[in-house]
Symmetry: D4
Subunit: 251 residues, 8 copies
C-alpha cells in the first residue's frame, strides 16, 4: 500500500489513526528486552528473522525460540551449540538439529511453502573439512523452500572430480561454491558455467590462510566474471542470496 | 553434445577424428602470442571475453580489439585510458568511449540481443565520487543486453533520499549497490528489499578507508542476509553477476 | 591555583614547603607496589580512577578495591570475572556486580553526585549480542552520575525499529551507538540526529569481521559528519566521553 | 511535526496531499544528475551539506557550488585543489580559499549565526606537519559558528611546551588533538583535562606509521578515558563533532 | 679443500700464509665503495651475481656493469629502466635489453655453458598482463643456460586453454606458474602434473588484490602438494630455483 | 593414452563405451559421502592422496584410513591427534604414529618403492621448537621413498653450528630449511649452497611474529636467489616438493 | 686469537691439529639430539645461552637444564610454566622461579660476576598489567649482573606519577620502558631524558590493540629520537640490549 | 636544581618570580607561528632539535633554518629535497647537503664538540640500495660528535663479505645494521658480536616486502638477543640512539 493510499483511506475513515500510523512507522516489532524480533522481515525482504546464536546465551536463544514458536513463526537458528539445542528441545520437542551444520530448525505445516519444482540450488564444497559451512547453506536453503543438490570434496587438486559432476552443477539456477585454503574452486567453476556463482570462503586451512582471508581474497579476485562472495564461513548468507535468486524464476 | 554421443557419431563415421577431438579439447581459442582469446567463453559462461586494459600496453589493447572486430566479436574493454581509446578509434571509428566509466564498447547489429523487456537491474550509488564504478557497471550491464535504472548520490547520511526511490529500486530483478567510505548503504538496502543485492565497495575515501577495505568489510559483514560482494571498484563483475541473475527470469 | 599564587603563598608563609611542593609534584598518588593509584584523577580529569581488571590477578583486583574502599573512594571495575567478584564481595559485601557488563561498582552515599536532571545519554545497540558492551557503557554512565536511556536490538537490517525510537534518541544530549558486524548503525543514526554520536564497534561477528575491525573501520569512515569512535568493545570509554559531554550542559 | 499531527491536519484539510506526503518522504533534496544535494541536512543534523571534493571533477565541484550559491546555501568544501578554487572563484568571487587547509568557504550575511560567546574549541597540533589537518578543523569549526583557539607544534617530545598552554586548553568546551607519528599527544592531553577530547590521527610520518595507522591505533587505545577518535586526517569530522558538543552548552 | 688439508699444506709450506688465510676468509670480493661484488657467488651457489637495479642510480648500475664486463663476468640485471639501458649500452654495445622483462643481459662466448639438451623449464602465465614477470623468468632461465618453453594467457577462467597444452607442460623438468588476481592457476597445474611447480604471484589486479597478496596467499595455501612460491613479481627468483632443479638432472 | 588413441580403440571395438568414457571423465574416484578419494592422484601427480586430519572428525579420519587400507592404498595422515591415532590403530594395528610430527603412516610391502640410493633430502631446523614441523617433513619424505638427513637446532644466533654441518647439507639434492622467529636461516643457507632450498616458515615465536608471518615474509624476501617457500608450518608440502625434485635425478 | 696466529702456532707445533681446527670451526657446541647448546655464546656475544621454554616440552626443558647444570653453566629460562618449574626443581633444588615473570634462574657462586657498582638499569612500566613483562626484564638484567631499579604503574594517563620519579629514572645508564595500550610512555620518557631508551610494547589491552601492535607502532614512530624497540612482550631481549649498553661503561 | 631549592631561593629573594616560574614551566621555547622550536631539547635529552623536512613546505624549512642560524643553533635537517637545499643555501651559504642521505647540516665552530676519541659507531649496510638510509645515519652520528666507520653491501647472500670485516665491526661501541628485503643481517651480526646492535629496516625490496615490513618483522623477531629496532628507513633515529650509547662511555 502506497503512502497516498493510506492517507486517502484514513481521510475517508476506512482506517483509524492507529492503523494509519502503523503503516508509516512500519511496526512489526516484538519487544523482548534483550531482543526486538523483526516479525515483519519476511514480508519485507523475503528472508525470515533468523537467530544468530553465537554471542547469545543459551537462555536468550531458548527464550527467542519459545516466543517465535508461540507466535507460530518458523525457526532457523545458526551457530547453535549442542547445549542450546537440548535447552530448546525441552520446550519444542519437534525442533531439528543438524550436528554438522550446527543449525536448529522448525517449520510448522501451515507455513510450508511449496517447494519450487525442478529448479534447484547446487552447493559445491572443495573438501570434507568444508562440510559444516556447506551444510549450513543446505539447511538454510531448504528452510527457505528451495530444492538443493550438494557435491562434496571435489577440490581443484583433483579437478576431474569436478568435471564428472559438471552437467548437474551447470543445470542449477544458482551455484554456491564453498572452499577454504586457496579457494580456487570458485574461479574454476565460475569459468565453466553460465549461472550466477556465490563463493563462500571457509576458515579451513592453517598458516597463511589467516582464518579464511586467503580463500576470501581469491574469490574476490576471481578472474571468472560471474562470481560474488559472502563472508568467511557464511553458508547462511550464501543460501539467502541464492534463494532470492532462485525465487526470481518463479515470481 | 554429451561425450557418449560424440563417441557414437565418430564410431559411425558421422564426424571425423579432428572434429571428435575438438569436442574433448574444447578448442575455441584464438592465439595471438601475447593473448589467447577465449572465443568460446560466451557460449560456455554466458559472459563474452572482455578486455581488462590495466597492465596491458596500448598496442596490446589495440591489437586485441582489432582482431575481435575482424572476427565479428563484440568488444567491451574496461580500465581504458583516453590514449588507448584514441588508438582503437583510429581502427574502429564506431567504438564508443564512456569517459566516466573508462570503458570502450562496440556492438555490431547482428550480435544485438533483444533487450530483456520490463525487467531491469537497479544500480544505486552512495555518492558522486562513486560514479566511475557505477558507470562501469551500467556500461557492462547494457553491453550484456539488460535494461538498467541508476540512482546516484543517495548515501545513508541523508537516508530519506533512499526512501524516496525505494519502490523503483525494489521493483528491479537485482540491485547493485556501489558505495565507498563505510559502505553502509548495502546493508540498509539489503534490509529493505526482497531481491538479491550485489555490493560493490569502492576505493573512495581516505585514511582508515585503506583503499576500499572499509567498505569491503562492511559489505561482507552486512547484517542483512541477501547481500553478496564483488571486488573493490569492480563494477564490471557486479554487472556480470547481475546479468546472469536477470537472465534466469527469461531463460 | 596557579604557580605564581602557590609561590606567593609559600613566600608569605601561608603554606609550608611540603604543601607547596605537593602542588608542583601534584602528589595524589597511593603506592601499592604493583599499583600506583591516581587518587587525584577525578579532580583533574573529571574521571575517577577505574580498575581495568583484565590482565590483573584476582588478588591484585581485590587488593586495589580494598584499599580504595578503606579510603572512601568509589569503585568501578571493568572486565571483572565472577571469581574476582566473589573475592571482592567477601571484603565489601555491598559491592554490585553486573553479570552481562562484567562490571563491579560501589558508590558510597557521601560521594553520590546529584543525578543530572532531565538530560540523559542514549545508548543504542544494534543486536542482542552487543549487550555486554552496551551494558558496560550503561554501568559506567550511571556511575559517573548520568541518566541513561538504552535501546537494544535495533540494527539496520530492520531499520524501522530505529525510526520507532528516533525521537527519544534525538532528545538525548549525546548518543552512544554500539554495533558489531558492519557497524552501519552509527552512520545511519549520525545522519538522522543533531547531537554528538560516539560509536563503539564491537567484536561481535565472525570471518571478515576480524574481531571488530569491520565495525571499527565502518564507523571511522562514517559518511555522517558528527560521529567519533572509541576502541572496539570499549563501552567504558564511550560512557566516559559521553559523561564529559553531558556535564558541559550543567557546568 | 509528528506523524499523527500531519495526518490530522490532512484529514482536516489544513494541508493538501502533496504536502502531507512530503512530510513522510522527508523531501529536502535537490537533484543534479551527478549529485543529490541534501538541502535539509542542516535542519536535521545540525551539520550543513559539505562538499568533499576529492574524487570529484573540477566541473562537478564548480557545478555544486554554483547551485548552492544560487539557492543561498552557505558553502564549505574540503580537499579542494587550487585549480578547483580558481574555477569556483570565477563564478563566486567572494569565495575564500585556505591554502594550508585546502578548504573553500562562503558564508552569506543572512546565514551568519551568532558566534557562541566566550566558549571555544581548542585545536592542538603536535607538529608543524600536522597543520593542514588542524587548519581544516579550524576552518570547519569557524564555518559552523564556533570560536576557536589553536595551539601548534607542541608534541610530547618536548612536553613542557604543552604544560605552558595547559590552562588555556583546559578552559575550552571541547579539545581537538591533531597528531601524527605515534599520536601520544591525545593520551597525554586526555590525562590532564576534564573536557571531551577528540583525537585526529594524521598520516604524517613514514615507515611503520603506515599512513596514519600508528597514530590511529594509539588514540583508539588511549589509556586516558575521555578520548574519542575520528578518521585519519579528518579535521573536518572532528570539528563537526566538536561543534555539536559546543552547541549543547548554548541550546 | 677441507680445513685440515689447508692447515697441513700450510704447515708443509706448500701454500703461504696469505693463501691459507684466503681459504678461511673465503675472499672472492671486489670492492667498489658503493658495492661489494661477490665474484665467488657463482662457484658457491651456482647463481652468478645479478644486479637488482631498483633503488640503484643509473650511475651505480652502469658502474657495476662496466666493472663486471672488464673482469669478463657475464651480466644479468633486472628491473632496469630504459634510461639505464642506454647508459650501459654506451659502454657495452653488445648488451641486450628485453623491453617487457626490463632485463639487461650480456654473455661472453667463453662463459657460454652448454644448453642442457632436451630437458626444459616450462613457464606458464595466466594473463597477458602477467607477461613482464614471465619474461623476467624467461630471460633469467636462458641466462643460466636452460631451455625454456613458455605458455601465455591460459588462466583458469578458460581452463580448456590449459588442457590443450598440458602434455607439453607436464614434460618439463620443472614448471613456473606466473599468475595474478586469484592465482588459482598454480593449484590447478599442481593438481595435474608430477613435476615440481614454482608459483610466482604477480601484482596484477586491483582492489582486494592488494598488490599481489591475493595471489601470494592463494599459492601458499594451494591444496595441491607440490607447489612452492617465491616473492610477488619475482620472476628472477623463480627462474633461479628452477635452474638449480633443472641442473640436478645433469650433474 | 592420448585422446586419439582412445577414440581409435573404441572405434575398433577394442574398448567398450564405458571404458572409453572413463578415459575422458578420468574416473579414479572413490565416493564416501563425506569424502571423494582421489585414488588416481598418485599416478597423475606423483603424490599419493594424503589425509589432512585437521577439521575432520575422528570418525571421518578413521573411516578414510579403513577404506584406503582395505583397498591396499598406503596411508599418510598429517595433523593427527592422539585420539585419532588410537581409533585408527584399533582397526589397523600396524599403523605408525610419530608423536612429534603428529603423523600417521602405513606402508604395505607390495607398495614399497625402492629407496633412492645415495641421494638424500637435507632437513635443517633452526630451533628445538621447530621440530614438529621438521618431523612432519621427515615423515613425509620417507613415506615418499626418499633418504633423509636432518640437522636440528642450528639457527643463525650461533651460526658456527651451521658451518659445522655445511658439507653434509650441501651434498643433498635439495634442502628444506625449517625456521620460525625471523627465519633468517633460509637466506643464510641459500647464500652458501648450490642446491634448491625450500623454506618452511614456522609459527614459533611471539608478538610481532604474528603466527609465522615474520618468518614467511623473511623467506619470501630472501636476498639469496635459489629459495622458494611453502605455507607456514607446512612440513608436508615442503617434503612433497622436495621429493618431486629428488626424483628428477632418478627418472 | 686471529687466524694468522692460530696458523703460526700450529706450524710451530704449539697447538695440535684438533685444537687448531676448533678455532676455525668455532666448536663450542653441545649436541643433545633435540638441542644443540651453544656453550660458546657467552664468550662470543656477552649473552649466555638462554632457554626459551615456549614450544618446548617439559621433558626438553628439564633435559637442557640438567645438562647445563651438570656442566656448571648458569641457567636462565623464560616463558616457563609452573609444571616445568616443578620438574626442574626435582633435579636442581636451588633453582629459583619468579611467578610473575615466569622465569627460572640458577647462578652458581663461581660464575657470579661482580655486580656493576652504582650504575643501574631503570625499568619503567605503565600499568600493573604490564608487570609480567617488566619482571622478565628485571630477572634477566639481574641474571646478567646489572643493578636494577623498577618503577611500576606510572602511565601517561596520570603523568605526574612519572615526573615524581624522573630524577631517579634519568640517572640510570639505560632505561627500559614497558607499556601496552597506546604505549605513549616511551615517547614521553624519551622526550625527557638524555639516556638511551628501549621500548618494550606489551600485548596488554584489547580491541584495536591487536595483541600489542598498537604499542609497537607507537614506539617505532616515537617522535622522541633516542628510542629503540624490541618485540612485543620481549622483556628478556630488552634487558639483554640494556645489559650490553650498561657494560660499555665498565669495559 | 630541585623544586625545593627553587622555592627556597625564591623565598630568600635569590631569584625573582619570573625566574622561579621558568623552572616550573621549563621555558626554552621559540615560537614561530607554524613551529615552536624546542631550544632546550639538547640540554634535556642530549639530542638537538632536528628538522624533519617531509610534510613541511620549502618556506617553512627555510624559515626554521634561518631562525636557528641567527640564534647560533647548529642545524640538522632530514628528508630534505634539493629544492629545499637551494632555498636554504641562498641564506646560509656554508650549509652542507648530502645528496644520498638527503640531509642538510651546519655546525658552527663554537658549537663543535670534541670528537670522542678512538671509540666509534659501526654502520653496516646490507646492499647498495640501502645506502640512503645508512648515509642518513652517518650524517646524524657525525653531527652528534661521534666517530663513524661504515661497511656497505655485505648482506647475508654472500656472508663471507661480513666475516671479512667482523673484527672491525666488533670493536665499535655500538653497531647500526641497515638492511631491507629479509633483514637477516641484523640477526647474523647480533649473533656474532657482544655489543649493542640497532637494526634499521629499510623499505628496499618489492612485493611481500610491503615497504619494509618484512625487514622490520625480521629484526623484531631476531633470535639474537642484543638487537633493538627503530622505524623503517629511520637512519636518523638509529644514530641518535647509538650516539646516546656511545656517549655513556665518556660521560
Amino acid at each position: 500500500m502506497k503512502p497516498e493510499d493510506i492517507l486517502e483511506q484514513y481521510k475517508e475513515g476506512k482506517i483509524n489513526l492507529t492503523d494509519a500510523l502503523k503503516h508509516f512507522t512500519k511496526k512489526g516489532i516484538e519487544e523482548m528486552g534483550y531482543a526486538t524480533i523483526d516479525t515483519d522481515r519476511h514480508k519485507r525482504t523475503g528472508m525470515p528473522e533468523v537467530i544468530y546464536a553465537a554471542g547469545k546465551t543459551t537462555e536468550q536463544v531458548t527464550g527467542i525460540c519459545k516466543r517465535m514458536f508461540e507466535k507460530g513463526i518458523d525457526i532457523l537458528a545458526t551457530r547453535v551449540t549442542y547445549e542450546m539445542y537440548e535447552s530448546v528441545k525441552a520446550i519444542i520437542p519437534e525442533i531439528k538439529y543438524n550436528n554438522t551444520a550446527r543449525t536448529l530448525s522448525y517449520k510448522s505445516n501451515q507455513n510450508n511453502e511449496q517447494q519450487l519444482n525442478q529448479s534447484y540450488i547446487a552447493i559445491v564444497a572443495a573438501g570434507t573439512s568444508d562440510m559444516p559451512v556447506a551444510e549450513e547453506a543446505v539447511e538454510t536453503a531448504l528452510f527457505l523452500g528451495n530444492n538443493v543438490k550438494s557435491f562434496y570434496d571435489i577440490g581443484v587438486a583433483g579437478i576431474h572430480r569436478l568435471f564428472d559432476k559438471l552437467d548437474e552443477i551447470q543445470n542449477a539456477n544458482v551455484i554456491i561454491v564453498v572452499a577454504g585454503m586457496e579457494g580456487a574452486l570458485a574461479s574454476v567453476v565460475g569459468g565453466l558455467v553460465n549461472k550466477p556463482v556465490i563463493g563462500v570462503p571457509t576458515s579451513i586451512g592453517y598458516g597463511a590462510n589467516f582464518g579464511g582471508i586467503s580463500a576470501l581474497l581469491s574469490m574476490l579476485n576471481s578472474c571468472a566474471a560471474g562470481v560474488s562472495v559472502v563472508n568467511i564461513d557464511n553458508g547462511f548468507g550464501a543460501a539467502c542470496q541464492a534463494s532470492l535468486i532462485n525465487r526470481l524464476v518463479h515470481k
